[in-house]
């Protein structure tokens, strides 16, 4: 039996509220299917399944807030279906409380505050409630220490009977409950950035890169294309980063009691939200994607990010982050590393500058690329090698 757990959707996540199950027990799922919506401090996120199988049972109800690692559902693997009879008794649905990986994030002993309270209910009352499909979270216990007793469940059954023809909650109200609030995003950013500043000794490097060739190349391509198919500079920059990281793999890593290199390159791309705050969805396996494919991914992800409709894996799996200020903004940006990553790359706006090349002065569009690195994980040399490699591949965009 596969235990489908509350995923860790980022270093700052301690718990999540299951807002809605998108499937029901008995449904067959495959890798990548959306199984539920979870509200985290980052917003409402679609949670994906990573296994194939049949949903056996949901372990938590809609509306439950549980810590990262809590078993949400049990999934019967497809190939196991036939050997169902010899179920391992040890792997029964137990209330395993896995502690959040980052539980010291806010510098507090998070155990008491994040572990959801187990429902106190007598075995008999639980049995009756299960038979009658009564939602225990709506029952107030009157037994010892507030435990739910048989009588409490029986009167709940009475109430349900009386109100069966009324809908449980008006639709608008449910929608309202789903809408994440700006403050929660703000406090998530605050927590992650405080941790970054507190724990990560940053070093900073910058390099001015001539963007003439890149812009020319892009202009030539875009001229041939309808507006919807045109490339943005961001796609090219992401591709160039992915390419350069292959030469300096130690920057594509996390620091969790030691440097852990990642075998895949997922580039987190900072997106500013209209209402304030940022989200960092990942362009997955950017090294394996072409520039066009990256552009497609951006076209898909940016509107969804702004609508806060991202999938769990898109938010949680980036291995490095890039922040780009876009046109007309500040010249340079030195980022704060998003823990547990070990580097962040920043791009200022492209500015025309006097630029010496091959012994000649000229006006060139120049971008300032910066790198903030975790000095526990890597040294300035790595960062320098990376920026140089980045500059080099942006001179030959056609080879990317």
């Amino acid at each position: 039996m596969i235990e489908f757990k509350m995923p860790n959707l980022g270093a700052d996540m301690e718990d999540g509220t299951l807002v809605e199950w998108r499937m029901k027990p008995g449904d067959t799922v495959k890798r990548g299917d959306i199984i539920a919506d979870v509200e985290t401090q980052k917003g409402l996120i679609e949670i994906e399944v990573f296994d194939e199988g049949v949903i056996e049972k949901f372990m938590i109800k809609e509306g439950d807030k549980v810590p990262v690692g809590t078993v949400l559902a049990l999934i019967q693997p497809i190939e196991d279906k036939r050997s169902e009879l010899k179920k391992d008794p040890v792997s029964k649905p137990v209330d395993v409380k896995v502690h959040p990986i980052e539980e010291d994030l806010k510098g507090k002993p998070s155990d008491e505050t994040t572990t959801p309270e187990r429902v106190k209910i007598s075995p008999l009352a639980r049995k009756i409630a299960e038979t009658n499909k009564i939602d225990l979270s709506r029952i107030k216990g009157t037994g010892q220490d507030g435990a739910i007793t048989r009588q409490d469940v029986e009167s709940a059954i009475e109430r349900v009977k009386k109100t069966t023809d009324q809908p449980e909650l008006p639709e608008e109200q449910r929608d309202k409950e789903k809408t994440p609030q700006g403050e929660t995003i703000r406090s998530a950013i605050a927590a992650a950035m405080s941790k970054s500043n507190r724990e990560i000794p940053h070093y900073y490097l910058s390099k001015k890169i001539n963007m003439q060739h890149a812009l020319d190349w892009m202009g030539a391509i875009n001229k041939e294309r309808p507006p919807q198919k045109r490339l943005l500079l961001a796609a090219l920059l992401i591709k160039a980063i992915a390419h350069s990281l292959q030469k300096v793999p130690e920057l594509n890593a996390t620091w969790e009691n030691g440097l852990r290199l990642k075998s895949y390159i997922n580039i987190g791309f900072v997106i500013a939200l209209r209402g304030g705050g940022i989200l960092i969805p990942a362009i997955q396996r950017a090294d394996e994607k072409s520039v066009d494919e990256i552009m497609e991914a951006l076209n898909d992800i940016i509107p969804r990010a702004k609508a806060m409709k991202l999938r769990s894996s898109e938010l949680s799996e980036s291995t490095i982050t890039v922040t780009s200020l876009g046109e007309g903004g500040a010249d340079e940006v030195f980022g704060m590393i998003y823990p547990p990553q070990v580097a962040i790359i920043g791009f200022g706006s492209i500015v025309e500058q006097p630029f010496a090349e091959n012994g000649m002065m000229g006006i060139r569009p120049v971008i300032s690329a910066t790198l903030a690195g975790d000095h526990r994980a890597t040294d300035g040399l790595s960062g320098s090698l990376f920026l140089t490699a980045l500059s080099k591949c942006l001179q030959k965009p056609e080879e990317l």
């Binding site: 007598s122 075995p123 008999l124 009352a125 049995k127 010892q144 435990a147 007793t149 048989r150």
Partner: protein
Amino acid sequence: MGNTVKFTYREALKQGIREALINDDTVFLMGEDVGRYGGAFAVSKGLFKEFGEERIMDVPLSESGFVGAGIGAALAGMKPIVEVMTVNFSMLAMDQIVNNAATLNHMSGGQLNVPVVIRMGCGIGRQLAAQHSHSWEPLYAHIPGLIVLSAGTHEDAKGMLLSALLNPDPVIIFEYTYMLNMEREIPADSGKVDINKAKIVREGQDISIITYGLGVYKCIEAANKLAEEGIDVEVIDLRVLRPLDEDTFLNSVRKTHRALIVEDAWRSVSISSEVSARIMEKAFFELDAPVERLCGIEVPIPYPLHLEEACVPSVVDIMNTTKKMTGL
């Protein structure tokens, strides 16, 4: 109800012994001061005169010796009633009881039976202090090969002995010193009793109080008072501490969904521990509240009256815990 007679617990015990002696020539009573003196608690007073020294036998002050002799007599075909003045002294006879009486049927491949009945005074008396006041039913209930009975009512004080003598295996009967002067009405024709089953001594719907020995009358009293407050208590007298009749108390818990276990014995590794465990094992999903226990405080029973009383569950304790558990 037919004819009843009013007896003290002491008189009920004596009637049982007397009837057994009359019924069967192979029955005899042996113990410290049971004959000429009439028994340390006057239970056998008058029997020496009636039955003579061969059947009411005074023995030397050696528990190991005379309990062993009783076991020997049982092996030889007699039906001895061995009185050990208090359970506290029976520790000296532990080897005879545990290693001989309880095992010989097994060791002989079923060829030998030990139909001995050992009566022991048990529990607090009235200020008899630590070495005469303990409740050691759990020690004996632990041992396979013994049948362990607890006479918590006058009917059982009389009848358990009669039934025990018909059993081919060693039987321990706990009698309660504290109750000797207590008077109760019992049916005039009461005699042998079932020594396999626990007994519902008061029926109720709200909670099962499971008890034995000195707890029985205390729980019935508490139940009667609680009835005035609208709490309907079922009281179960376990009676047979080994082998436990779990069906009776499990069925009761399945009806009331709450269980309180009351005993004077120390809490740890006690009869209540065992009963509680079996409820968890076999009736967990019937429970509407955690099983609770009221047991003896785990100290040697003190001499001063108020401390002695404080060491065992009282009627008020039982009422309070029941109210808490039923939330009524």
